[in-house]
């Protein structure tokens, strides 16, 4: 699948999209929280390594590094890595750097054998955010009770 995100497709540099995407990496695990959407994500092993190396890089640069690192061949490596990054973009976690120049981090140690990077998404707490907009207010500006 080719997506319409110019930054990803045209080899543009990527970055975490906003200050409301917070993340932390411990060894080979990363947790990412989308504070706006009420979702959080777990990335392990190769997915975590790719996440760490993404800011300031292009997808092509990440793919090239993995092709150098593994014997699996570009045909086996590029499609799942590209799909993973596109999924991160779809979730609003990563996008074009848009002129920002995030500090680049070298690719951390990766598993010995190539694996398709993936994340686990958790949306079990989304209702805590009370995202439903308030529609009606009384003349003093306070929400009216249903």
């Amino acid at each position: 699948m080719r997506v319409a995100y110019a930054g990803v497709d045209a080899g543009g540099r990527l970055d975490v999209t906003s200050a409301n995407i917070v993340n932390e990496t411990f060894d080979d695990e990363t947790v990412v929280v989308n504070l706006d959407a009420g979702t959080y994500f777990s990335l392990t092993r190769l997915a975590s390594a790719v996440w760490v190396a993404l800011p300031g890089s292009t997808v092509d640069e990440i793919v090239d590094q993995l092709v150098d690192r593994y014997d699996a061949g570009r045909e086996a490596i590029e499609p799942p890595v590209r799909a993973f990054v596109e999924a991160l973009v779809d979730e609003g976690l990563v996008g074009p750097a848009d002129g920002r120049t995030p500090a680049r981090t070298p690719l951390p140690p990766v598993p010995d054998t190539f694996e398709a990077p993936a994340f686990e998404k958790f949306d079990d707490m989304q209702d805590l955010l009370l995202l439903d907009p308030i529609h009606d207010v009384d003349p003093s500006g306070w929400p009216t009770r249903p």
Binding site: N20, V22, F26, L35, D124, L130, S140, G141
Partner: protein, 356 residues
């Protein structure tokens, strides 16, 4: 952003001042402010309720942290009023209907100094002036304070009061022995409440069941905020000795809200040096055992539920949870059906005997 301020209408400072005036009028109409002081997070907190109506709902859970009135200014002053008993409402809202955002945060009325949140559904106003350490709480009718809010009164104001400090409110329980303890954290159904109450029954100290605060001191500590425990009816059946401490009528989806103070006041300890974060999990098998968990497991258990429940300071809260998870080991606590064994395992962690 900041519609009212940009259009020359009243901004957060003016709204806050109007609300402080409204509280003063409410207190006057109710025959004066009913005052009580509490020691929370090592700070002197003065609670002022306009008349008696809100006093039980907002101070019952803090009973174990009550302190004699001190001289001079308190560190924090929380003023609360309801409209039903005082006849004084909230000032008109100077923001447009579109300003109500996620978690009730009002767009344009939250900045470095002021916080303004109207919790939709329960219709509670919380506002805070960080510069003066003054918080405001308003509800239309004191009788409508939800039972869970009675279990953690002023949770939102205390959260804002920790901005820029090493303390962090966290959705977690905590138990301990002789000044050392563990956090117990997990979603509903994880066995967290059962574990904390089993530890209490076994003679351990109790710092909380739902919300506590940790502090990134050396070593990290946990502070008790609330003397309450919130349990579902099947869990309460395991603890018949606690039934007399239930403080709400229950029914419907309500859990039982237990007020452990004053009956168990000597056991409500704070602060506790933090030994570990335990992640309880019901197994169905007989054996209770510990398994080392990664720091990321602790972050996943502690951070989302905390940052998605508490309005504002999201990034700061996340960073503090990360720091705690780097400094304190985490263990999955596999809970067995032989429940008498559970407090022994928890006590073993507290006293450094487990894991061997």
């Amino acid at each position: 952003m900041a519609h009212a301020a940009l259009s020359g209408q009243r901004g957060p400072a003016a709204f806050f001042a109007d609300a402080v005036d409204a509280f003063a009028r409410a207190a006057e109409r109710a025959g004066g402010a009913v005052e009580a002081e509490f020691d929370l997070l090592g700070r002197r907190v003065l609670v002022r309720c306009a008349g008696p109506a809100l006093v039980p709902a907002l101070t019952g859970a803090l009973d174990h942290r009550r302190r004699p009135p001190g001289a001079g200014s308190p560190d924090l002053t929380f003023c609360a009023w309801d409209e039903a008993s005082t006849g004084v409402g909230v000032p008109p809202a100077p923001w447009p209907p579109t300003a109500y955002g996620a978690k009730g945060v009002i767009d344009g009325f939250n900045d470095d100094r002021f916080s303004t949140v109207f919790a939709p559904g329960v219709d509670l106003l919380n506002a805070f002036d960080r510069a003066r350490g003054v918080g405001l709480f308003w509800i239309e009718d004191a009788a409508a304070v939800p039972y869970w809010e009675r279990g953690f009164p002023f949770r939102t104001l205390l959260h804002w009061a920790t901005a820029g400090s090493p303390a962090q409110l966290v959705h977690s329980g905590a138990v301990g022995i002789d000044g050392t303890g563990v956090l117990l954290t997990g979603a509903g159904g994880s066995g967290k409440s059962t574990t904390t109450l089993l530890c209490l029954r076994a003679g351990m100290d109790y710092a909380g069941d739902d919300y506590v605060a940790f502090e990134l001191s050396s070593p990290p500590q946990v502070h008790s905020l609330y003397s309450t425990a919130k349990v579902d009816p099947p869990t309460l059946e395991r603890f018949p000795e606690l039934v007399p401490l239930v403080g709400n009528a229950g029914g419907g989806d309500e859990k039982a809200l237990l007020f452990l103070s004053p009956a168990l006041a000597p056991r409500l300890a704070s602060p506790l040096r933090l030994r570990a974060v335990l992640l309880p999990h019901v197994t169905g098998g007989p054996e209770t055992r510990l398994e080392p968990a990664s720091p990321v497991a602790a972050v996943r258990a502690l951070a989302p539920t905390t940052v998605f429940q508490l309005p504002r300071q999201d990034t700061e809260s996340f960073r503090r949870v990360v720091e705690l998870s780097r400094r304190v080991p985490a263990f999955t606590l596999h809970l067995g059906t032989d429940v008498e064994r559970i407090p022994e395992v928890v006590a073993g962690v507290v006293e450094g005997r487990f894991p061997a």
